[in-house]
């Protein structure tokens, strides 16, 4: 049933392309603007690159998460979902996985352009960077899905979501930057293991918390 829900979200997205388009456009715009702030030959550019990547990820991610429950709002589809014979935690997990997949899909386009604009050597551990992005975005989706479900019913939802979400996800973004920087410098994954472990811990904790409290978040 979780697969049915993920499949439905993907079906709607591939038909409307609203979330992916917004994620890509904002992510790319952020990277382009930040890349022009640094001299192309400067060492500072390489040092600032991890921060720039994660800023683009955050901006695009918030926009995507804001949209994730809008489809459920039209025609009160969320009520239709809540009437299905599944526990509400499963609905949360399916929505979180869907949000994670959308954000990862956007990274498949954003990361190559990030490499190009920041003039980075392509020899660095690309797989490690994607692993780091995956761990960071899973935690971001875990917290963001829960708060998106809460904020979608408020009038100022576009403002409410980042206000609730960003303070809580600061640790995962700090860890993301701390992992990305050595990987871009060509260091092995083993060097950043403590930060990676922290990201895994964050993901597990917030997925479990979201699964447990989602029922109360969507209740009137």
């Amino acid at each position: 049933m979780m697969l049915a829900l993920i499949r439905k979200d993907l079906q709607i997205e591939f038909r409307t392309k609203e979330t992916l388009a917004a994620l890509l456009l904002l992510g790319l715009l952020t990277l382009v603007v930040l890349s022009f702030a640094f001299d192309p030959t400067s060492e500072l550019r390489v040092e600032a690159a991890p921060g720039a990547l994660w800023v683009a990820v955050i901006f695009a991610g918030v926009l995507g998460l804001n949209r994730s429950f809008l489809a459920e709002r039209e025609n009160e589809c969320l009520q239709g979902l809540l009437l299905c014979p599944v526990d509400r935690g499963s609905i949360y997990l399916a929505k979180a996985v869907g949000n994670f997949l959308f954000m990862m899909l956007a990274q498949l386009v954003i990361v190559p352009i990030f490499i190009f604009f920041f003039n980075l050597p392509v020899s660095f551990g690309l797989a490690g960077v994607f692993l780091c992005l995956a761990l960071g975005l899973l935690g971001f989706a875990a917290v963001g899905t829960l708060f998106a479900a809460i904020s979608v019913r408020t009038r100022a939802r576009e403002v409410m979501l980042p206000l609730l979400l960003l303070p809580l996800t600061v640790p995962i973004f700090i860890a993301g930057v701390k992992v990305t920087a050595p990987l871009l410098a060509g260091k092995p994954l083993g060097d950043v293991a403590p930060w990676l472990n922290m990201m895994v811990g964050f993901d597990v904790i917030f997925l479990v918390v979201g699964w447990l409290v989602f029922e109360y978040a969507v209740e009137e």
């Binding site: 049915a4 038909r15 025609n75 009160e76 589809c77 009520q79």
Partner: protein, 242 residues
């Protein structure tokens, strides 16, 4: 199909300290068709949402299909269909895609055949592959009825199902509800349209200000008498609380 489908004792629900439903005792047997009448704000929709496990009771107990709601209601929801004036349909998906999605969520076996049969039954064959967004209100409500029936529920709850429907669409909906009832489905419907309500239901309850004030059976020729009973009961209840 003997047995009790709905049983509430002292059921109540408050929103931000305001009581929407108070100490309601109601029993609905399998195969019954019950119309719930009452003025705006009487608690009719709250009652249906409580019975559909969309809301948690503030007070009292609720038993569905002779069992208390223990697992959050997931097992009971498998046997419940819910039709509201909101369709619960995804506007960017077609009627077929919407029904297939809900059929998957309810674990319907042989869902392709089931969806095709339902689409034909509600007269949507010509619109089966157009986005719901492009359908008229009447067509969308037909599709919503198919959604509510896709898992062949034993209890069908309808919250103002005739809202916004034209005469033809209302007649079609009435015929489908009569058919579902004839096939043994228990119906519980809120409506302001007494004539439509009694085309499907033979038992009525009246709610006002969250309290059940009348519960009885109606004959086919007693609609006018019932309207007078309704007005007298509601006015008496309002006057008693004034």
């Amino acid at each position: 199909m003997p047995g009790t489908v709905v049983e509430t004792r002292e059921l109540g629900r408050r929103f931000a300290g305001v009581a929407a439903l108070r100490a309601l005792d109601l029993t609905v047997g399998a195969g019954e068709a019950v119309a719930v009448f009452g003025p705006n704000g009487a608690g009719k929709s709250t009652l249906l949402r409580l019975l559909a496990t969309l809301l948690r009771p503030s007070t009292g107990t609720l038993r569905l299909f002779e069992r208390p709601i223990s697992d959050g209601g997931a097992a009971a929801r498998r046997r419940i269909g819910f039709l509201s004036h909101q369709s619960f349909l995804y506007p960017d998906l077609t009627p077929t895609e919407n029904l297939e999605f809900y059929a998957r969520m309810f674990g319907v076996i042989n869902l392709t055949q089931r969806v095709r049969t339902l689409i034909e039954r509600v007269g949507l064959a010509g619109w089966a592959h157009r986005p719901v967004r492009t359908l008229s209100r009447g067509l969308e409500q037909r599709c919503a009825l198919a959604r509510a029936l896709v898992h062949e529920p034993q209890l069908l709850m309808l919250d103002e199902p005739f809202t916004g429907l034209d005469v033809d669409a209302s007649a079609m909906l009435t015929a489908m509800l009569q058919e579902a009832h004839a096939n043994g489905t228990t119906l519980l419907m809120t409506t302001h349209d007494m004539a439509r309500g009694f085309e499907v239901c033979r038992r009525a309850v009246i709610l006002t200000r969250g309290r059940l004030i009348w519960d009885g059976h109606i004959g086919e020729t007693q609609l006018i008498e019932f309207e007078q009973t309704y007005l007298a009961s509601v006015h008496a209840a309002e006057a008693a609380r004034a």
